[in-house]
Amino acid sequence: MEKDRNNKEPLILGLETSYRICGVSLTRGEKLIAELNIDAYRSHTEKLLNLIIDLLRYAEMELKMVDLIAVSIGPGSYTGLRVGLSTAKGLAFSLNRPIVGVRTHLVLAYPFRNYARWLCSVIPSKSGEIYRVYFEFRNGKCKKQEGMGAIKLEEFYSELKKKKPAICGIVDGLDLNYLENFVGCQFLSKKGSFPESYYVSVLGYEKYLAGDFSDIITLEPFYIKDFPDRK
């Protein structure tokens, strides 16, 4: 424990509530200490705080040792995001620690950053459209991003035929067989993946290294559809 305290790397608490799976993780820099995930259906409110308490207990750490709060900001479940953000802000405020928001598309893509150069990260929307972002990685670094927005399923399939990325993300509602055999895009996790809180922490760490902190007051869920110009 003493040794751990002397470590210069920040202790990061990552919260992921944008999807059904509610997850919390604790990392030292990008090194995993503990991670818990549970299918919360709609009850993120009850689950999240208990998960944090359990996580700290398993890790034999205390809340006040946490140096940074990282939180997934969506797009995703409206209530889940509200719970995640208000909890993150509450913690950051009471502990007087910085907070960073990370976009869920990146959380979903990050596990594959060293394996695929050209990736499409997908999140289905409630209305049946697909939120998708394309990422180009080089040497594990994110170089370019494009296509931030919602798109109809058929348009998405024809876009994929042109762009030919590998696909990752939440694939509820996508026809994987069609994607692989007719569109020609490989899906990077057969089981379907979910945003993992470990990667929320890892991305939080990268932003921490870059000094790219979020503002505790104005940080809010990322809804692709609100254009800033419409205000």
Binding site: E136, R138, K143, K144, Q145, G147, M148, L203, D212
Partner: protein, 139 residues
């Protein structure tokens, strides 16, 4: 030189700038933190018919949008060396068939083609929400 009195005016100026742009143009936007580089780019993008949400590429180095033309939005703020930018292959885009809009061009000045449009945004000395904006075609 023009004075912008609000974020909205800067946005509208962006729309005006978009009207003089053609394929392969490069617009480098100089200005301190928070002067409105992203804001003016939002206007330019709107003028170019981009429908997506335009925000600074904070994690990626480049955001690509599609409007009437392809638009590449760079933010070099976090780039610390020319080699970092070169490794990522940014230069290719400067010669691509699109329009490049660049925040923090001073970070990679040496890699930028000479032929470009410089936009310089400065805080106004007296008024918090005013900006002095200069547009200079180079050469």
């Amino acid at each position: 030189m023009v004075i912008s009195r609000s974020s909205r005016e800067t946005y509208r100026l962006g729309i005006e700038i978009s009207k003089i742009l053609k394929i392969k143009d490069i617009v480098s936007i100089y200005g301190e933190l928070g002067t409105g580089k992203t804001r003016i780019i939002q206007g330019i993008c709107r003028g170019l018919g981009v429908k997506e949400r335009v925000t600074s590429p904070s994690f990626a180095l480049i955001n690509e949008y599609s409007g009437k033309l392809k638009v590449y939005h760079f933010d070099f703020f976090r780039v610390n060396s020319l080699s970092e930018a070169m490794e990522l292959g940014c230069i290719d885009y400067f010669y691509d068939d699109g329009i490049c809009l660049i925040e923090w061009p001073e970070k990679i000045e040496k890699l930028l083609p000479e032929k470009r449009i410089n936009v310089i945004i400065q805080y106004h000395k007296e008024r918090k929400n005013w900006r002095r904006i200069e547009i200079i075609r180079n050469p």
